[in-house]
């Protein structure tokens, strides 16, 4: 086998059994790896009705065929489990080095089952796999955990771990690798915490073999040239993903103060240009990346002093405009805390925005404010409440369940800006119609990356569409969702798609694996993954009624700025979306579609 390692590692934490199984070649060819193979294994083995924080839920870590190779910006791994936040299929991927390390250790997937009696960590060194005691690590924050595990294993081991948030089952807990890289969304850190698994350390020395070296090199260089020449990729290198703050604010689609508005006059103070000027220490790249959008950030303001990474655009937006804050130091500090405590840096600040909205609207009684000065534009509040959420103290204990459950607790779920109970990210669905349809239909709830129509609705990457238009958007959303699923399944980062197209990915995958993939085959693999995820969600009890957005986006128009007066039109687009997907009116894939995708 080339491209894949040919082995799946299964670890049962309940009985300590470690087994190795051969990779099913047909599954690999059809579902590629990472998100695809992970979802295939998960849906084959786990009942959709499983309770997410029970030992019966499984947690799968999977690199893709590109992971560990020099395919441009394609060194990622994907984590799959049923999400405790959304109760949909959960999936989150991360860059850094961890995915490549898993691959070099010889595995296409690591399946974690059951639940350990007391805290443990895993030490995977090629064929040697140990389940080790982690009682002394329980309670440690992410950087200290990483250092401690390395000291006990190998200086150069790659470590993925949870922080206090995951241990305490915060439903917004992330899994962190290399300290600052994050499989953040959907609360998969809580699944890891529920299994009493503190960390996984990996060191690998095996080769990833290549079917046709010359063809792979040619395909890689042709693809790299496209990424290097792409203006969006260049912008991401220069100012990080935060470059989007001013772009979205200029078109009036930057959700502001928990989506009460979509224009923030002082957004520039927390944008990419300000980040570069005020806190950027160094540019950072994930494994095999040719863009390097990562930011090493150092805060000089003594009140918020510290060094870490980020923020990314979505975190910068959520801590910034969405909380009415324009202090780049506080935003950066709060983001560092998310990484250190092991929290999703989108859901956490978006939940804080919801808390502020409820407090200032009078639906959160003052006796529940936990002594905090809850108001918009309070830099100290975003830092302090992040800490309390991560440690589940006081008000943070309730907020750690995410904005939907928090708002519901007080009888006002309408304050939660969520889709399928997951906080929506930084692009206003009232001003940008396609991304709203993506939020409503995404298999993991409110999420932008799994169908990033912003590329054509805002950035004009390859194609420029009117963001306010609904016509034709369902087909665009489907195309982005399928392509992204394929890129995720092969171990790629979606930022690569700013320059590369399906032809590039198919050429690289064919040369690497020796299996011929046409560009259509490649995208179809993504569509296959999307439909398999949809089937899981339907089996879990979701229906077409759940493919929607908060009422605020339909009834409360944007108040100021260039998009003033706009609302979302998701309900009007939904029937056409189901139709272009080959689903029936209830949003269920038809037998013909499943047959076409070799899913039935």
């Amino acid at each position: 086998m080339t491209g894949w390692m040919g082995t799946i590692l299964r670890i049962n934490l309940s009985n300590g059994a470690v087994t190795k199984e051969p990779l099913n070649a047909k599954d690999a060819a059809l579902f590629l790896g990472a998100r695809g193979l992970g979802v295939k294994i998960f849906t084959d083995e786990v009942d959709a009705k499983v309770e997410p924080l029970s030992p019966e839920n499984k947690l799968i870590f999977a690199p893709g065929p590109f992971t560990g190779t020099s395919a441009p910006s394609a060194g990622r791994y994907h984590v799959v489990a049923k999400s405790p936040l959304t109760h949909t299929i959960g999936g989150a991927n991360s860059g850094g080095v961890f995915g490549a390390a898993l691959k070099y250790a010889g595995y296409d997937a690591v399946i974690i089952e059951g639940k350990a009696e007391k805290a443990v960590y895993l030490w995977i060194k090629d064929d040697q796999v140990e389940i080790r005691d982690a009682s002394h690590l329980w309670g440690k924050w992410v950087p200290d955990t990483t250092d401690a595990v390395r000291a006990e294993t190998d200086d150069d081991a790659s470590v993925a771990c949870i922080g206090p948030a995951g241990e305490k089952l915060a439903l917004m807990a992330s899994i962190q690798n290399e300290m600052h890289r994050s499989a953040g969304r959907g609360g998969l850190g809580a699944v890891m915490g529920s299994k009493k698994l503190k960390a996984i350390a990996v060191k690998g020395s095996k080769p990833v073999r290549v079917a046709d070296v010359k063809a792979l090199e040619a395909a890689i260089w042709s693809a790299r040239a496209k990424v290097a020449a792409n203006p969006v990729a260049q912008g991401l290198h220069k100012h990080g993903t935060e470059i989007l703050v001013n772009i979205l604010n200029e078109i009036g689609s930057l959700p502001t103060r928990n989506w009460n508005d979509a224009h923030f006059p002082t957004a520039d103070k927390v944008g990419g240009e300000s980040l570069t000027k005020e806190v950027l220490a160094r540019r950072k790249g994930c494994f095999a990346c040719v863009i390097s959008c990562g930011r090493v950030s150092q805060i000089k303001d003594p009140e918020f002093a510290g060094i870490g990474e980020g923020p990314e655009y979505e975190a910068g937006w959520a801590y910034g405009p969405d909380c009415g804050v324009d202090n780049i130091f506080a935003v950066t500090k709060a983001n560092h805390l998310c990484n250190e405590l092991g929290l999703d840096s989108i859901s956490t600040p978006a939940t804080i925005a919801c808390v502020i909205d409820m407090a200032t609207s009078g639906v959160l009684p003052r006796e529940d404010w936990d002594g905090l000065d809850i108001r918009w534009n309070n830099p100290e509040l975003i830092v302090e409440l992040t800490k309390r959420i991560g440690l589940r103290q006081g008000l943070g204990d309730k907020a750690a369940l995410g904005s939907y459950r928090f708002a519901e607790m007080y009888g006002h779920p309408e304050f939660a800006m969520t889709a399928k109970k997951q906080e929506m990210p930084a692009y206003d669905a009232r001003g940008i119609q396609g991304i709203g349809l993506q939020y409503a239909t995404c298999n993991r709830g409110g999420c932008h990356v799994k169908g990033y129509t912003i590329a054509v609705e805002v950035l004009g990457n390859g194609l420029r569409l009117d963001p306010r238009e609904t016509k034709g958007k369902p087909a665009i959303v489907k195309a982005f969702q399928d392509m992204t699923a394929a890129v995720d399944a092969s171990g790629g980062c979606i930022f690569g798609t700013f320059g590369m197209v399906a032809d590039d990915y198919a050429a690289m995958l064919s040369a690497l694996t020796g299996i011929h993939y046409s560009p259509e085959d490649y995208v179809r693999a993504g569509e296959r993954v999307w439909n398999l995820e949809r089937e899981f969600n339907l089996n879990a009890g979701f229906t077409a009624k759940d493919d929607t957005l908060p009422e605020r986006l339909f009834k409360h128009p944007i108040q100021t700025g260039p998009s003033k007066g706009l609302v979302s039109h998701v309900p009007e687009m939904l029937p056409e979306y189901y139709s272009v997907r080959g689903w029936n009116e209830q949003g269920v894939p038809t037998p013909e579609k499943l047959h076409e995708l070799e899913l039935a």
């Binding site: 560990g68 190779t69 020099s70 080095v97 490549a100 070099y104 950087p143 990483t146 250092d147 290399e178 300290m179 600052h180 020395s205 095996k206 080769p207 990833v208 073999r209 290549v210 070296v213 792979l216 090199e217 790299r224 290097a228 220490a281 160094r282 540019r283 950072k284 790249g285 994930c286 494994f287 095999a288 990346c289 040719v290 863009i291 390097s292 990562g294 090493v296 150092q298 060094i307 870490g308 990474e309």
Partner: protein, 183 residues
Amino acid sequence: MEIASAPRDWSPARALASRLHPKKVMAKVLMIHPEKCTGCQNCMLACSLHHEGQFRMAASRIHVYTWEREGASVPMMCQQCDTAACMKVCPTHALHRNPGESLVDYEKSKCIGCHMCTIACPFGNIVYDAYSLSVLKCDQCGGDPSCAKACPTHAIEWVDDSISTRSRKKAYASKFVEAFQEA
């Protein structure tokens, strides 16, 4: 003042070559700029693919180390030392320098696998690889180094040795310009 003796690897042929072909002596070198390194490891991947036809990081002749708390990455690779310790201790001349070249060359057929070079190199830049039973030594890819081509941020450059530090010197000099403007 000490009077330098002739270098131990001095040879009549090399001396002659430097006189007859001065251009050849102005060789190219791999220049590293750690401050530009993002830690992506594309250099290691390219090195491994070029030399082994597969992705095996331990086979890379260049290594990138990252300190996550400090947020810094540094590539480490053979500097082709003028007075190369690895070459001096090599008992079989498997490691040697060809006339008029800056490269410390490695000839696998002469290598007896004694590991002396790996002990001698003060930087740890030459390593023994148990997988291929040979020394992993940067060969500058025969004059077109893959690592420099693969580096997306030009943290590794393939430049004439006479100008290798010019960009760094100029970057530093530019700080004076900034200072003058601020004044």
